[in-house]
């Protein structure tokens, strides 16, 4: 259950905090997923909120969990926007997996430069469109 990839876009919070958040999110997701065998929806919505941060989750059919953490501002974050964001991340992940040199079973984190670049772009775009 090691994290495959973590990217920190904020200026205020240190990385370690996000590692902690990632692990707690996984627990919450496991809870949600085990409760309903009829898991039709990939988007899990708001998992939980703490201090000034809100955590959104998304699970793929291959049990890969995507977690997005945003700092809560006055603006409302729409579900549709979040779903679109997760879909983009999912697409980037799929492209990365299609690389024949990528070892899916490994416990190690993702080392691909182009994956990192695409996540970076998604994050920067998200900043401007959602103002997070």
């Amino acid at each position: 259950n090691n994290p495959l990839f973590i990217k920190n876009f904020s200026t205020s919070h240190p990385d370690l905090k996000y590692h902690y958040i990632a692990h707690t999110s996984i627990d919450v997701i496991e809870e949600r997923v085990s409760n309903g065998p009829k898991n039709l929806d990939l988007y899990l919505g708001l998992l939980y909120a703490m201090e000034d941060l809100a955590v959104y989750g998304y699970i793929t059919n291959t049990r890969v969990k995507l977690v997005v953490v945003v700092s809560v501002t006055d603006g409302i974050i729409r579900d549709a926007d979040m779903k679109a964001l997760f879909r983009k991340i999912h697409t980037a992940y799929v492209s990365n997996v299609c690389n024949p040199f990528y070892n899916i079973d490994s416990q190690k984190s993702i080392n691909s430069k182009s994956f990192a670049r695409s996540i970076e772009t998604i994050g920067i775009n998200a900043r401007t469109t959602l103002e997070i």
Binding site: S95, N96, C98, N99, P100, F101, Y102, N111, S112, K113, S114
Partner: protein
């Protein structure tokens, strides 16, 4: 590149053959198959120069057989000179099998050497070379070199083909250099391994 009528003719022929006379398969299936094959070779041999050689050998075997299919479907006649061969390879050959037309450039002064520039390469969708492969000198698409060598040998041309640059390795373009060594006189093709 001259725009002589032969070029246009080959282009039209290539388009026509692609449209009607060939079966098509899913591109991702093809890409993933080739990818897992390369990765398996890397695991088996662990030496990237050896992997390059194996890819070239595999290509050679494919090319020797592919040329028959190519000639049958395209109905192309003998090429009068090497320049025509280049055009046929690019506009009919690659078009027919991969639906790409690499550009022909950098003709040498004696017209015996040219370069193929690949703007797109179906083998390399989604592929990213790990650092060891970059350092080891892996030419991911080396199978193409073998295919050309095998195919052209069956039509009495001995050529040497190798990659000089590859986008996967961080270069600007993917470029293959092909050199005509000699025309083979009527003799049994040189069998290797």
């Amino acid at each position: 590149m001259s725009s002589n009528p032969a070029v246009k003719q080959y282009k039209a022929l290539g388009d026509e053959v692609w449209k009607s006379k060939v079966d098509k398969i899913n591109a991702e299936l093809f890409t993933l198959t080739y990818g897992s094959m390369v990765v398996q070779l890397v695991k088996d041999f662990e030496d990237y120069t050896e992997v390059n050689k194996q890819l070239e050998k595999m290509g050679y075997n494919i090319g020797q057989r592919m040329i028959e299919d190519f000639l049958a479907r395209s109905g192309i006649g003998r090429c009068s000179e090497f320049r025509d061969t280049a055009e046929a390879v690019s506009k009919v050959g690659f078009k027919m099998f991969l639906n790409i037309t690499p550009n022909i450039t950098n003709w040498s002064s004696d017209n015996k050497e040219f370069s193929l520039i690949f703007d797109e390469n179906p083998l390399t969708d989604f592929v990213e070379l790990p650092d060891e492969a970059l350092e080891g000198g892996l030419w991911y698409s080396n199978v193409y070199c073998g295919v050309l060598r095998g195919a052209l040998e069956m039509v009495q041309m001995q050529v040497e083909a190798h990659f000089v640059s590859d986008i996967l390795r961080g270069d600007e373009v993917t470029e293959m250099r092909i050199k005509l060594i000699r025309y083979l006189e009527e003799e049994v093709p040189v069998g290797e391994d």
